[in-house]
Amino acid sequence: MKRFRLSETAIDVARERGALDHAAAGGYVSFEGWVRDHNDGRAVRRLDYQAYAPLAASEGEAILAEALARFAVREARCIHRVGALAIGDLAVWVGVSADHRDAAFAACRWIIDEVKRRVPIWKNEHYADGESGWLHPDNTPVGELAPGG
């Protein structure tokens, strides 16, 4: 069973959460990343996520395996959307169950941070003014780095 996957369709959190159930687990922490209507002062209309799929899958799987080794958690899952998303859409979901809430919070936070840092997925924001651009990890446009010419 894969713990990480890319999805071209909407993430059904209620269904996915079942994978985290464990009779010994007393705490469940989830993170959801939603598409915001603004970034860096510009109004955002929609966005696209592009992934290098085989490496994204293996790198995501490695992050979740590391999380299970580093933290006292029972189960952990992550799903990341690819393709076209609208404002309010769920872009990424992380779910973690653990016997105690300390580990569940720490692991959930660690997983989303590592996914954003390591998994080869890129966000292209489409702005209300008709422009668009690929983003850097700090959410500034990549275009700023283009050569003068």
């Binding site: 080869p120 997925i121 292209n124 990890p137």
Partner: protein, 79 residues
């Protein structure tokens, strides 16, 4: 040697394509990036990228083999 290169995000925009077959004398990703960066006008310094060969991250001095799939990965922005 012939390599298959995949481009993503701003590198794909700049190259005007998502992939290419390339005959090259380059024997490492470092040499190959210098070549394609000059050819396509990529702005990223190599230090800001990662490189993957055949679906796995490798170092910049990895020994490339004929028909390898090589991907230069711009800084990611998932989540």
């Amino acid at each position: 040697m012939t390599y298959r290169l995949l481009y993503f995000a701003s590198l794909a925009d700049r190259a005007g394509r998502a992939e290419e077959q390339r005959d090259s004398a380059a024997r490492t990703p470092q040499e190959l990036y210098a070549e394609v960066a000059a050819a396509h006008g990529f702005a990223f310094a190599r230090e800001r990228l990662r490189v993957a060969v055949n679906g796995a991250f490798v170092g910049w001095d990895h020994a490339l083999a004929d028909r390898d799939e090589v991907v230069f990965l711009p800084p990611v922005s998932g989540g």
